[in-house]
């Protein structure tokens, strides 16, 4: 179990199983990057690299509306996003452009979100991903955090969270 304990979550609010989500995140990295790819590991178990993991500049999210309403949010460093996009698009990390970062992290949150949606009561609908680069964290009014996984990939931070909305979430601007 690598989920961060969340205070003040009402007992009636149910979130996705953290171990299952962690497994899915690992499967996504392997599926995208190939069988030999490293899987994200719990952050506490990640090797300490001075200066690494200090920034969380990319936010990607999807929302679910329906029988269960909520959001799945991924936050990561630019370095992680750049490394992921570089390996996906087979370009050197210093040549990765923002569109490639948005595409790579957007697909990551899309697949995590779709699998979280499947774990929760349905029927429901998944939005397209929204990705913010160097922006403020998305404001999710009234939502209660039900899951937080603090992971690390290539010594860079990767946070996965799910949020249960108190009412059906509204449409958002889509970035793809």
């Amino acid at each position: 179990m690598t989920a961060t304990a969340l205070p003040d979550v009402p007992s009636e609010v149910v979130g996705p199983d953290p171990d299952t989500v962690e497994q899915i995140v690992g499967d996504i990295f392997v599926g995208l990057l190939g069988e030999g790819a490293a899987r994200p590991v719990p952050r506490a178990a990640a090797p300490a690299v001075p200066g690494a993991g200090s920034d969380a500049e990319i936010t990607a999210s999807v929302s679910v509306t329906g029988a269960w309403a909520g959001h799945v949010v991924i936050r990561c460093s630019t370095a992680l996003a750049r490394a992921l996009a570089g390996r996906l698009f087979l370009v050197p990390e210093d040549e990765v452009v923002e569109a490639e970062i948005c595409d790579a992290v957007g697909e990551l949150v899309n697949v995590v979100g779709g699998n979280v949606k499947a774990m929760m009561p349905g029927p429901s609908v998944l939005t397209l991903p929204r990705v913010t680069v160097h922006g403020a964290a998305e404001h999710l009014p009234g939502a209660v955090e039900t899951l937080r996984l603090e992971l690390s990939w290539c010594s860079e931070p990767l946070t996965i969270s799910s949020w249960s909305a108190p009412f059906p979430s509204s449409p958002h601007q889509e970035f793809r």
Partner: protein
Amino acid sequence: MKALVVDDSRAMRMVLRRTLTTLGYGEVVEAGNGREALDALDPAALPDVALVDWNMPVMDGLAFVGAVRADAMFRPMTLMMVTTESEQSQIVRALAAGAHEYLIKPFSPEALTDKLALLGLLPMPTPGTDSVTSSTWSAS
């Protein structure tokens, strides 16, 4: 053999293209949504298989499958949904709309290979040919 990959994520299109190329597909074409895919389909040179995401802007994968199945000219083309939509009800919807197979993301190359084998859509390896013709209809 020829494949069509319909997904709004360029990253996913690249992942699928790599696997298809490794399997021996000689031509892999891409579209960023269902509308682009429909606009570019040539009845005289249909792909053997289309790998179709569900959640896309403009025209989603389910609408694309429905449109393809409504047109007899496109009937020879095999349709496989490749999507994060994994609820049983969604799978039933896609198959009822005319999809032949369903692959849930995340997937491994082996899982895609197995599905294509089930459909009889694994190209036979041709010794001495390693060139791949590719074209991109639109990159979103």
